[in-house]
Amino acid sequence: MSLLRMEQVSHRYGKRRVLSRQAERTVLQDVSLTLETGMCLGLLGKSGAGKSTLGRILLGLERPKAGRVLFEGQDIYGTHPKDYRQDIQVVFQDSFAAVNPKLTAGQIIAEPLTNFTRLSPEALEQKLITLIEQVGLTRADLAKYPSAFSGGQLQRICIARAIATNPKLIVLDEAVSSLDMVNKAMILKLLRELKETYDLAYLFITHDVQAAQALSDQFMILEQGQIVGHYPTPQAFDQATDPYVSAIKDAMLATHPRKRTIRK
């Protein structure tokens, strides 16, 4: 049994109003994918391709219009919607929008712990210290508010929150995309270490080919809501000649001076 399976998922957004009916637009079309324990699937695609929507569906936040999402064989939009919650976590792109500015780092990391576990205040405190040190911050940081951190530090706090309840799968929705080079490399390293330590599975959503390659075991390309390419190994992705893949690779790699190509 796979950790997670998406079967023929289709989705469209559209505001239903009492009187008028707005045109609905299809965002995902017959998307199927499989994630195994300890595996990182890189989901690449341009902006607006439907990547975040796919992530939200996988997290149980947006019921798809068609298709099923099975976590360990259970339909997450089925009868017991909360069972999977502590096993699937998320890290978003904009860490400042992903934390409540009125809570301290400690309170932010404690939220899943208070919801899913019954720890004594001392045990909770101890757990928080372990977590924050695990992501490379100090126990003194637990008392600080989000405004006191940099984007990279705050992203570490979001990662600590995501791993707090020992999940099996983490959705990384552009988790390193807004970080500078140095922070990006460090967060990718942290994510790789955590993956190995806890045998975590990642759905790594990104438009950044290099970042995807640094972490992923498999690759999928999403284009206008459809999967247009699936590469089960890094080698296969490297050698891909698909026009979509080359376009995405070009767009990213062109920024590197050595790889820059002159276009007409």
Partner: protein
């Protein structure tokens, strides 16, 4: 040119946020205390009619003089503060609660619930409060209760609209999505994520609204629709004093001054709070 001008300097000092914040808070705080302690502070019974001492000038026994029925003006002002402030708080608190409830439901749930609630709000908004008051007074006769109910029925809509907008903006933030992923209940999300983030605007609008509520109550009482004599209320006192506008204008000036000071304080306080919290003002 760097010519130092006297006037702007003065304005600069006057608009000193902190000063206004402290000054208004202290004034309103003292007024609230005075209203609460009116039975002990008032030198006389505010309802005691004594025609022998009518229309007296200020004296040691009657610090602000007496009205046309010989009642102590200071005592009536103090008791009037109870009515004005007390009912303003009542209107504010109840309409705020209803508005918070409706606005949060509409903004958080969205979809047809939102549509339904907002169309209902539009319907209520189509009634100006004055017309609603006149309607209620027409049915039940003049009285404070009618005025308060009418104001409550109208006020909550503004809160509902405001909270709906705030909640909708917040709902889009990823920390709400993260809270759901982290297994927080909707109630917990409301308590820990939504409410603390709408508190500053709530405080600002609330302060501004208090001024309006006091104005409305006084205006209705002045028109003879609200508080009925012999009850002491600032608007009603102006109403009673207007027959003596030539001989004893102070009968209108004292309560008028109180209304002006209180409303100005609430407004200044609201303005400086909004500046402090960076809340953008929304007009009614």
């Amino acid at each position: 040119m760097n010519v130092p001008l006297g006037r702007p300097r003065l304005l600069e000092r006057l608009s000193n946020q902190r000063l206004i914040l402290i000054g208004c808070s202290v004034f309103l705080g003292l007024l609230f205390l005075a209203a609460l302690a009116a039975p002990w502070l008032a030198p006389h019974d505010p309802f005691l009619v004594n025609l022998a001492v009518k229309l007296q000038d200020p004296s040691w026994t009657y610090p602000l003089g007496t009205d046309h029925l010989g009642r102590c003006t200071l005592s009536r002002l103090l008791y009037g503060a109870r009515v004005s402030l007390g009912f303003a708080v009542l209107i504010f608190a109840s309409s705020l609660l209803i508005g918070l409830l409706v606005g949060t439901l509409a903004g958080y749930i969205g979809g047809w619930v939102d549509q339904l609630l907002m169309r209902f709000c539009d319907g209520v908004m189509a009634f100006p409060s004055l017309i609603l008051v006149l309607g209620l007074v027409g049915i039940f006769g003049p009285g404070l209760k009618q005025v308060i109910i009418a104001l409550m029925l109208v006020q909550w809509v503004y809160y509902a609209r405001m909270f709906r907008g705030l909640i909708m903006t917040l709902k889009e933030k990823n920390f709400i999505a993260a809270a759901r992923v982290n297994g927080s209940s909707h109630w917990k999300i409301f308590r820990t994520h939504l409410l603390p983030n709408i508190l500053p605007p709530l405080l600002v609008i609330g302060t501004l609204e208090m001024g309006w509520a006091i104005m409305d109550i006084s205006a209705m009482s002045f028109l003879g629709l609200g508080v009925q004599s012999p009850a002491a209320e600032w608007g009603a006192m102006i109403h009673e004093g207007k027959s003596y506008i030539r001989s004893n204008p102070e009968l209108m000036i004292y309560p008028g001054l109180m209304i002006m000071l209180v409303i100005a304080s609430f407004n200044l306080l609201g303005e400086s709070l909004s500046e402090r919290f960076g809340v953008t003002k929304q007009t009614k």
